[in-house]
């Protein structure tokens, strides 16, 4: 075997072993107890793989010219300035409302609006809303609104448009955003107090403070695109949407076409892999094998001298990092496979060129893993709007609305999970195929380059379905 082939083999072996070694999972936010599926659940993974393979060949035959790459958004109308200001003000009001609720409301996460708002609405549902309606978060981003308002005031006082005091170190790319995204995953999945309202309120204050410093030093837009994890996170989902706003003009475009002009910066691939890895670890961290393994790890650190809680958190930190590394390794497997196909691009160039194809997968993973969480725990928002602090208020008469757990059967949830995972991966294949057509021009070369991407997509689908299936046993 040549060096490249051998290298691909090693990567394949590692990724395969990682897939096998990944812990049996229980969806941290899912409901258990699915039964009576007409076929074994592993057959869904085979069917999903077949759908992906058929889609791949359908693209090869019927999709011969780049469509997404050449799509030009059509401007529809100008959005008045006051809408931008109003949305920003609403975002700031929500942020301060959450901080107030976090400190002054009940400290039980089931009685306080903050945990449900952040983990259900913000983290799980908003990505879907952005994928449908465009970059909603950017419009309501509170620290962006404060940063822009501060910049406006300073410019008015000085009488000129002052430049940012410091040049952003471009080598860092989106690494600050990766760091903060990992921090959010750490808060949610590793710390023992990640659901405490006062801890979440403190985290909001610290994060907003850091963002304001970053915007002050490097400029609002430059920092937001690189250092605001949530701005990057929701912006990439909004690129799936047929709606976009540029220079205050609302425009329509082909769904997914926004991914074609996503600005590549260092650490972007890591950001995408971190997003998928956090979701995957959320699904796997309550599985029996992981719990058994984490206990072993915990005892190792306890023997070294750490306390039991610290040891457990170290073990979960390792698990979170491992999960992200598995996702990154599997993507690299596809890239190494493409390199071995005698393509005149380096692994680095290929990695950044096809990174946007991971975005629909990110969305598929999020929707599949958090679907039941959104549909059931999301109902709690009806009660929280009337009683956000848990102090017994009933502003809108909905404080006593209970969660209806019979709203959806567990089989329906499973079918939806399979569906969104498959759609997400087919969409990822479509984005990669269109990009390959634009890069190589000829359909044959594009298809040859993408055969390994198909392996990556099938692998991610199988992994996702396996994680979900374990949750429902």
């Amino acid at each position: 075997l040549s060096g490249k082939a051998a290298r691909s083999g090693v990567v394949a072996a590692i990724a395969g072993a990682a897939l096998l070694a990944a812990p049996a999972a229980a969806d941290a936010h899912g409901l258990v107890g699915r039964a009576d599926l007409p076929i074994p659940d592993w057959l869904f993974a085979w069917a999903a793989a077949a759908v992906l393979a058929i889609s791949f060949f359908a693209f090869a035959v019927f999709w011969q010219e780049p469509v997404l790459e050449t799509n030009v958004p059509k401007e529809r109308f100008t959005i008045p300035v006051f809408v931008d200001v109003m949305c920003g003000a609403i975002g700031v009001a929500i942020m301060f409302g959450l901080i107030y609720a976090g400190f002054h409301g009940s400290q039980l996460d089931s009685e306080n609006v903050v945990p449900t708002f952040i983990y259900v609405f913000f983290w799980s549902l908003l990505p879907l809303l952005c994928a449908i309606f465009g970059d909603l978060f950017r419009a309501f981003n509170p620290w962006r609104a404060i940063g822009r308002a501060g910049g406006w005031v300073v410019n008015r006082i000085s009488g000129e448009n002052l430049p940012a005091p410091f040049e952003y170190p471009e080598k860092l790319g989106r690494f600050p955003a990766v760091f903060f995204l990992f921090g959010f995953g750490f808060l949610e999945l590793v710390t023992l107090s990640g659901r405490h309202p006062d801890v979440l309120a403190t985290a909001i204050i610290i994060y907003a403070f850091v963002q304001l410093i970053g915007m002050t030093l490097f400029g609002v837009d430059r920092w937001l695109e690189r250092g605001d994890a949530f701005n990057v996170y929701f912006n990439v989902f909004s690129r799936i949407s047929p709606l976009t706003v540029k220079n205050r003009k609302l425009a329509t475009r082909l769904p997914l076409s926004g991914l074609t002009d996503f600005t590549w910066l260092p650490s972007t691939v890591l950001f995408f892999c971190a997003s998928i890895g956090i979701t995957a670890f959320d699904g796997s961290s309550e599985g029996s094998v992981w719990q058994s393994f984490s206990k072993t790890l915990q005892s190792v650190f306890t023997d070294i001298g750490f306390g039991p809680q610290t040891s457990l958190q170290i073990a979960f930190t390792i698990g979170l990092i491992l999960s992200i590394a598995i996702v990154y390794g599997f993507y690299r497997l596809g890239i190494e496979g493409m390199v071995s196909s005698h393509i005149d691009m380096s692994a680095k160039e290929l990695s950044r060129t096809f990174a946007p194809s991971l975005v629909p997968i990110m969305l598929g993973y999020i929707l599949a893993h958090y679907f039941s969480f959104i549909m059931f725990q999301g109902q709690a928002m009806f009660a929280f709007v009337s009683n956000p602090l848990g102090h017994g208020t009933n502003y809108f008469g909905t404080a006593n609305v209970k969660i209806n757990y019979r709203f959806l059967s567990t089989n329906t949830i499973w079918y939806f999970q399979v569906l969104v995972l498959v759609i997400g991966h087919v969409a990822g294949l479509a984005v990669a195929h269109d990009k390959a057509l634009a890069v190589w021009g000829k359909a044959r070369a594009a298809v040859q380059s993408q055969i390994w991407m198909l392996v990556v997509m099938v692998g991610f689908t199988s992994l996702g379905l396996w994680l979900l299936s374990q949750a429902n046993q």
């Binding site: 082939a5 993974a45 023997d303 199988s462």
Partner: protein
């Protein structure tokens, strides 16, 4: 020491074996591509 007492979770062999069925499409696909690649090199 605990570090020497780490054992493979054999008790969960059922989970692992079931997991193999999920891995099968990836193995089949990657194996097929690799096989084709080797054939192409042998018979250019």
């Amino acid at each position: 020491m605990t570090i020497f007492s780490i054992v493979l979770p054999v008790a969960h062999a059922g989970h692992w074996l079931a997991g193999l069925l999920y891995l099968a499409p990836v193995v089949i696909l990657a194996g097929g591509i690799a096989w084709q690649r080797i054939n192409d090199r042998r018979n250019p």
